[in-house]
Symmetry: D2
Subunit: 146 residues, 4 copies
Amino acid sequence: MLRKLLNFRNKLAKNMEYSNNEYTRTTRDVSLHDLSRRLAEFAEVRGWDQYHSPRNLLLALVGEVGELSEIFQWKGEVAKGLPNWSCDDKEHLEEELSDVLLYLVRLADVCGLDLGQAALTKIVKNAKKYPATTVITDHNPTSTSN
Amino acid sequence: MLRKLLNFRNKLAKNMEYSNNEYTRTTRDVSLHDLSRRLAEFAEVRGWDQYHSPRNLLLALVGEVGELSEIFQWKGEVAKGLPNWSCDDKEHLEEELSDVLLYLVRLADVCGLDLGQAALTKIVKNAKKYPATTVITDHNPTSTSN
Amino acid sequence: MLRKLLNFRNKLAKNMEYSNNEYTRTTRDVSLHDLSRRLAEFAEVRGWDQYHSPRNLLLALVGEVGELSEIFQWKGEVAKGLPNWSCDDKEHLEEELSDVLLYLVRLADVCGLDLGQAALTKIVKNAKKYPATTVITDHNPTSTSN
Amino acid sequence: MLRKLLNFRNKLAKNMEYSNNEYTRTTRDVSLHDLSRRLAEFAEVRGWDQYHSPRNLLLALVGEVGELSEIFQWKGEVAKGLPNWSCDDKEHLEEELSDVLLYLVRLADVCGLDLGQAALTKIVKNAKKYPATTVITDHNPTSTSN
């Protein structure tokens, strides 16, 4: 009984959170596990699991990277912070960045991999590969992630 | 003085965490703010900030998506959970997924956008666009993220 | 005078060809120089040359690769010859394949490179790298193009 | 008889051309049918046909687009004609552009589509969509290929 009440309270809280997110835009720190869980639930309740094979999701990801690229395609060099962009353009960019992220998180999940943990491990690996004292001598820095 | 000591302790803790991550593989839940902060610091101490313009990072992201695709390119359909993959292949995949994620997080950051928050907002938007009662009648489900 | 007449005749022929292509669908063999020339002219008469910098075109290419991927994203494995595809779906695919090709040809052109010649050279290089007697022993063939 | 002799002469010429291409770099105009034929033969004699399914080739194409992007990723804006690029860098770029082209041509072929014809049709369609008198009033030109 208590468990049921608690479940109900949690669901209520979650729903409120959902509806609040959209309007209040708090700067809550979002975790990869959280996104992964939400997307799994999202797919399950819609019966979309059957379409979420690794290669289907990968191609969907490539599609979203294409949409992300389209935003930047005719702009020439773009300054950090997007100084002259309209609110609409920034929101559009946020949506495309999100789409890439969501498919990436989902792809890792259906592959059975922990994306957040993998990312931390990669940062550590990169830190060893490119020690902080590295001096860059030309305009082709080594990659942060290769 | 106390502040200095605290800083030192924090750095020490961070370093231990760094070196632990690699070996222990705890399933710590990783947040997007955390990744963003680490990558910003990573770039700053290496003097790489100057190369991290939005379009440079976007092209680097596309490069990593290419490497991710190469893993899947000759495999035909791949089952969820990657049943017959070797540990090496899975680790390789984790690295490429991470590379995409890291550039995506960094791109959002230099654009001044909150990727985690944007992702939550997008999930809410998708939930309204595709109500859970939606019945899929053919094999082309609408996108989870479009 | 004769020159003018000849020019006029050529333009006329070109225009007829243009309008014919669309309807008759002859299987004329198209050359990369021809495409390159047409695209250069297309951009010039519209004043688009100024936007056709290498990185702008590259991002536009990535955008089109995304649209190409979207066609295949929820389909699972697709058989050669696209046996069950509708005419509309095939035409859509032809358009996206063309978009990728057109931006690729244009990118090579603004970089001052001869794409067709480069492609032949690459085929020769690949032929040496992978002699025809190569026996494939597992399901990861070496690439045709790497 | 004459026909046979001519065929023989043509084959001979073709073979010589093959071996010469690499060194002489003539500016022969290359056709899409020719590339398509060569790639089909290339795959067949190596027993690679079995791996050349549409989605395998598409992912291989995405992989090559990634390698193409890597060339441009840390360069900031790049001027037309690649004024300060070394010969090696240009040759590398030619190879990656070629790789994208070869997989694109092969993908169209296994789908049973005529890429060259499709490209001409698309140019005609674009010409109607964006009449030459179109005046561009801002910095976001409509696409040449959309």
